[in-house]
């Protein structure tokens, strides 16, 4: 699956939560190839400010319509400019980049924190019709627009919020601990903040369950050329989050 750059027409671009938007664009070539866990590298304007592309996970793919969907949070200059692109407008998209999740599982458990839930959507879709359990964490009820999205995809949904305004108060890791005791899973997939990933990996490893984590880092090239995104691996060598990841087996990057 060769990487490419496409000029994609924006089809839909809506606010789905506080500062969170869903963006769907036409990109048939990418839609044929994209795997869950991969990401695209988006040039948010034609201008040289901001200069660099922005990495965003592929949140959904419709190969029939030839469309890709991203879900992103507006946090800075780039995402603010991206948010201004109107349906009918063009975007410059590079992808698909990185390696996706392993789909070898019968009883998967998905764990996503905050905007880390974005790649979980496409992952869940790809795992259907296997019975999927998901733990989703967020700051509060308002951030749990994800519930609606995962409703039809998952057999069982568990929610944690920092303030307890929806689901269980606390972190996803707390919920995970209980669930791993109560039920059996053959893989745990995780995407979210680094401390969450480390916590998930620790618990899964302790229970001897395979675990994949999707990492994030600041990226310039997105293809393994600039070394801005590397991290230390447990074998003493280094890995490129963009090209060797963003999805890693937990034991590869967390000891």
């Amino acid at each position: 699956m060769p990487k490419t750059v496409v000029k994609a027409s924006v089809l839909e671009h809506t606010l789905i939560g506080p500062q969170v938007r869903r963006l769907t664009f036409a990109a048939p070539i990418l839609a044929q190839q994209a795997l869950p866990g991969q990401f695209v590298h988006v040039k948010v304007t034609e201008s040289i400010v901001p200069l660099l592309r922005r990495p965003i996970s592929i949140a959904d793919v419709n190969p029939d319509n030839g469309t890709l969907t991203l879900i992103y949070r507006i946090v800075g200059q780039g995402t603010s400019l991206l948010a201004e692109v109107k349906p009918g407008g063009q975007l410059d998209i590079m992808g698909p980049l990185g390696n996706g999740f392993s789909l070898e599982t019968e009883r998967p458990l998905l764990v996503g924190g905050g905007i880390g839930l974005a790649p979980m959507v496409y992952l869940a879709k790809s795992l259907c019709p296997r019975p999927i359990t998901i733990i989703m964490g967020g700051r509060n009820k308002e951030e749990m627009y994800w519930q609606e999205i995962f409703q039809s995809l998952c057999r069982s949904i568990h929610i944690t919020t920092d303030d307890g305004s929806l689901g269980r108060q606390g972190f996803t890791v707390d919920a995970l601990s209980d669930m791993l005791s109560a039920d059996t899973f053959d893989i745990v997939y995780a995407c979210g903040p680094q401390p969450m990933l480390e916590g998930v990996a620790r618990l899964a490893t302790a229970k001897n369950i395979r675990c994949q984590v999707s990492l994030e880092d600041h990226m310039a090239c997105g293809v393994g050329a600039c070394l801005s995104c590397t991290c230390a691996a447990t074998d003493g060598k280094r890995r490129k989050v963009c090209a060797d990841g963003p999805v890693f087996w937990a034991e590869e990057v967390f000891s």
């Binding site: 040039k43 400010v49 901001p50 660099l52 310039a220 090239c221 393994g224 050329a225 801005s228």
Partner: protein
């Protein structure tokens, strides 16, 4: 109409890729036919492997970026064993950008890497991201010259000295490395810069300071290329913020015999190829037979 020979290295076009911005080449092979590139200057290589700097390594700046990779690289053994064999299937000159902590290390590295498949060396005497010495070589003419002499003693391959822009007198640096035997001079490496996060009150880069590259630095790069090209006889390879063929034309007019595309690759993975194509068109539109007709042709008589 684009073929050039720089420091004895034959290139199909004068458009090279800048060290550290194009990996070893294959990273971009989905986008660019590597066989059409003038030369690939691979990531800065050191004798032993290096892990690079910790913390955040890049920061965006107005029309530019800061990086503080810190010369992460698998080391010279791994380069010879794993990387070079893969590059041999391409028909493109591979120039190895080398860095050492001491003058002797540069010599050792050059001797070790003077093997089939390596077309020449670019001496990174200017990396701002290494503590032990890198930068010092690049700001003192005598030290830069010493590095060049040592490398020349240890290799028969062409030697390109890459200069740092963080100096008062770039011409003095260029003259020193030319006298020491450099076969070509490339410039500029990155300008030392900094960015601070106004939320956390911490430097954005883990290494506090980093190297500025991209369009923002182009005027400085162009000025230095012009100054150096007017002062030395060896060919100059110009780089710093080249995004388009017209940017490359500016560098050629200023006196560069070849150019390198760096940061632009990150923004537009086709950049190296597009700059070469655009150069071709530029020449055709003007009825010029060869890119050489541009080199140093800026008319700078103050009117």
């Amino acid at each position: 109409m684009l073929a050039v020979t720089i420091a004895g290295i034959s290139m199909k076009t004068p458009v090279m890729t800048a060290s550290g911005t194009f990996g070893f080449g294959p990273e971009y092979s989905d986008f660019v036919d590597l066989n059409t590139i003038g030369a690939i200057v691979v990531k800065g290589t050191t004798l032993a492997p290096r892990a690079g700097n910790s913390g955040c390594r890049i920061a965006e700046t107005p029309a530019g970026m800061l990086n503080s990779i810190g010369l992460e690289n698998p080391g010279s053994d791994e380069f010879l064993k794993a990387t070079l064999p893969k590059l041999k299937k391409y028909d493109v000159p591979i120039i190895v950008n080398i860095s050492g902590n001491t003058v002797e290390e540069y010599g050792k590295l050059a001797a070790k890497l003077s093997v089939n498949g390596v077309a020449g060396f670019e001496l990174n005497i200017s990396c701002p991201n290494v503590k032990e010495g890198g930068i010092a070589f690049g700001t003192v003419p005598q030290s830069a010259a010493a590095v060049v002499r040592e490398v020349k003693k240890n290799t028969h391959l062409p030697v390109i000295a890459k200069l740092s822009p963080n100096v008062t007198d770039i011409v003095a640096m260029a003259r020193a490395v030319e006298e020491a035997g450099a076969d070509a001079i490339s410039l500029i490496n990155t300008l030392l810069g900094m960015a601070i996060d106004t939320k956390s009150w911490r430097p954005v880069l883990g290494n506090v300071v980093g190297g500025l590259s991209g369009p923002a630095v182009k005027p400085v790069a162009l000025r230095m290329v012009w100054q150096v090209a007017n002062a030395v006889n060896v060919p100059v390879i110009g780089m710093g913020g080249i995004m388009t063929a017209l940017d490359a034309v500016e560098f050629l007019l200023a006196g560069a015999s070849a150019v390198a595309v760096g940061t632009a690759n990150f923004v537009n993975p086709y950049a190296a190829a597009e700059v070469a194509e655009g150069l071709c068109e530029y020449l055709k539109e003007r009825g010029l037979s060869h890119v050489q007709k541009l080199v140093g042709q800026v008319n700078h008589n103050i009117g």
